[in-house]
Subunit: 452 residues, 2 copies
């Protein structure tokens, strides 16, 4: 049989084995692996290692200064090498009370697996493994060489990944890379070709070593107020960041990028307004404005704020401590450390030098060439399955560490996977539609088939 | 014997019976009476009722919608009637581990009774009863008529007191009132002649029914930012409240009040800066500016703020909900409900009509006339015992319910008692120096003697 003629059988194999794939996913999801709180990490690495070996790849668990990184590989028919990247750690599941099904039970509700990690990123892992297994079962080999790297610290900023990759450059050499996901699949696959950077800062203020009775609020400084005033000086109600230097390194879009951004379908604003009970979109953005804003604008976001009494009812205190978490999504070529410095300078300049700034983590923005072979293979794979080009988002919307592969290894990449906007990654009731798991696995198979 | 000639004997009686007074105080303190958690309230009311009757007053336990209110009275020599107010409930004792002696054992350590309630407010109750008993033992009658009201909900905002007082106006009619305490006695008695009001608001904002992944921070509203901007629009960094109408009802100080405020000793700023590790006082206030600011300025305080992720480390979300607690200490004649309306109008005017405002607690400011007979009697009583005028704070610093007596019954009052700044009311190791209990009882006796 000529190469590729049996591809339909591979797709059928994926379909027929979907129940096994779902139960594989449930098994991974039932093992919590929360990197922020260091829960279940070792157990998850061991479980995943044995699952990968069962799929037929040879795999190893590599120690790092942080959580172990799994690598795996298998030779294929062509000389081309395709690198896959995923992560096995997940976000915390709080507030657990908001889940319709417990976050680590991975129950099936209405044809969806409900679990922390169901999409981000365990569903993506299973979609890759299901594709590899289908090739091995039907054809006995993969179309190209496969390398796989799965880390356990993505949700805390991948502190060990760059060092590991730089130490193992040769091990990871590849002609293209499929990154974890972009959670924007609709009816056809969506590719994103880069990532936002991230500058995550913690601002802390202590005005006293106690909280005072609020009957002395006329004479003591309040740390909550100091942080409120500092933050209000940094971004206005029209979303303009007022920090000197914040926008300095933002690159203009190239002509190709502009064309690709224009091609992206308007988001369905009305649907999201209803589903998420939005008051409105930021700045009253219209559907057709949303994609460009989403993909090309940096953010200056308050991810969290607490000061004083945060329980129910009444407690009358002047807060001696306050803390805000600032999360900036950066676009090429903003630099997280420069942004941290800009924030520090701003605070100093505006009389808030008592507010301490700590960079809790950082990653760089990066983008991949839209004309690279891996991107073309992903487009052909979409044509093969759907008779249509994949949608291309020239920039990622998330802050994945794919900049390490793009910048440090020079490997072009596309990020794609099983997630959709309704997957609620990082929120309560994260879920994966079973049909999306199947379609995701088929798409991975088609990409492997095309990348030769 | 002419009236008053035996007063020295009354003071001696108090001194000779100090051990009995201490053991009376221990008995009251050993009965917990925590209104917040409803522990021991009924038992305390019964115990106190029999203690008051034993002192020679006729007393009754009055039902309310909440905790019972005790009333008592006894006829005296003159036609004047003096009303006393105290409360028998106490704050919770947690954290119990921080007490050097268990909070409800009322042990004596280094000439202090260590117990929850030892000063606030059971020590004050015993000082009143000891004075009454001394008159009855030596003279067979009190110098004036005495009425007494002791409630059991002061620590939870006195929800039943106003209704009870309004229903029993006739029963409580008096020419002057001694309020519970002001816990600022130093070497001579301190009087405070009023109370701050309190307007406690909860501001809540929901921009969505979920927290979004912060990679969508360019397109979704963030509830944390909305509250930050709203709050920053309400008070500037120089502590000016920018809400229309906030200061409208603030009364200027009278000439007498100005003089009294000027007489108050500067606070020891350096000591507090060291003890509380302050960066500085608000607005760089100097020691001599602190009392005036503390006593005469209303506050607009953030008692608490939380939005988004408030745990340790990193979580990247756009917060769909945010909440701030605002606690305003009001001065005469600000009105908590009007302040709530001003805040609502401000939010509406500034485009924040999505932020909901709820009034969680309110009470009114009030002040007593410094020239009232009861104040003069307190000053004469201080002269009689110490050869000096009592210190007068024309306004209270806390938000006690004395406004009910001042505003609704029109009875002038002075708040004074056995407490000092080191009594640690509301904290672990609340205490009362035995000598202060004795001096407090003598001062109560002297006030009764002078109020004729």
């Amino acid at each position: 049989m000529a190469r590729g003629e049996d591809f339909q059988k591979i797709l059928e194999y994926i379909e027929k084995n979907i129940e096994k794939s779902v139960s594989d996913l449930q098994e991974l999801c039932r093992q919590p692996s929360i990197s922020t709180t260091n829960v279940g990490i070792k157990e998850m690495a061991d479980l995943l290692h044995s699952r990968i070996e069962k799929a037929g790849l040879s795999s190893s668990i590599n120690k790092t200064d942080g959580n172990p990184i799994l690598t795996a590989n298998i030779k294929g028919a062509s000389d081309k090498t395709l690198l896959f990247y995923n992560h096995y750690d997940v976000q915390p599941a709080d507030p657990e009370s908001e889940w319709i099904s417990p976050p680590f039970e991975a129950n099936i509700v209405d044809e969806h697996v409900i679990a922390r990690g169901s999409t981000d990123n365990k569903g993506n892992i299973i979609s890759r493994l299901a594709a590899f297994e289908a090739f091995l079962a039907i054809r006995g080999e993969l179309p190209c060489n496969i390398k796989y790297i799965i880390e356990g610290e993505e949700e805390i900023g991948s502190p060990s990944l760059e060092k590991f990759i730089m130490k193992n450059k040769d091990l990871l050499t590849a002609d293209g890379c499929i990154w974890e996901d972009n959670t924007t699949r609709v009816d056809i696959p969506v590719l994103s070709l880069g990532n936002k950077g991230l500058c995550y800062l913690e601002l802390t203020c202590r005005t006293a070593n106690v909280d005072f009775h609020s009957s002395s609020g006329q004479i003591y400084e309040n740390a909550a107020w100091r942080i409120i005033w500092a933050l209000a000086s940094m971004k206005d109600e029209n979303e303009n960041v007022l920090i000197d230097g914040f926008y300095d390194d933002v690159l203009d879009l190239t002509e190709t990028e502009n064309i690709l951004v224009e091609k992206i379908k308007p988001y369905d604003g009305a649907d999201r307004v209803k589903k998420f009970e939005l008051r409105k979109f930021l700045l009253d953005l219209k559907d057709e404005q949303l994609p460009r804003r989403h993909l090309t604008n940096p953010t200056f976001n308050v991810a969290g704020f607490d000061a004083g009494y945060t329980g129910e009812g009444v407690k009358t205190i002047v807060s001696g401590r306050g803390r805000a978490k600032i999360d900036c999504r950066l676009v090429p070529n903003q630099d997280p450390k420069k942004i941290r410095d800009c924030v520090q300078n701003h605070l100093r300049k505006h009389g808030f030098d008592d507010i301490k700034v700590e960079l809790l983590f950082s990653s760089y923005p990066a983008k991949s060439d839209p004309d690279a072979e891996i991107v073309k293979a992903c487009i052909r794979a979409s044509q093969r399955l759907y008779g249509q080009d994949a949608e291309i988002n020239p920039f990622g919307s998330g802050s994945t560490p794919c900049y390490i592969v793009l910048r440090n290894l020079g490997i072009p990449l596309a990020s794609t996977g099983v997630g959709r906007i309704t997957s609620r990654t990082h929120s309560a009731n994260e879920n994966l539609k079973i049909e999306d798991l199947m379609d995701g696995a088929k798409y991975m198979a088609a990409i492997c088939e095309e990348f030769v």
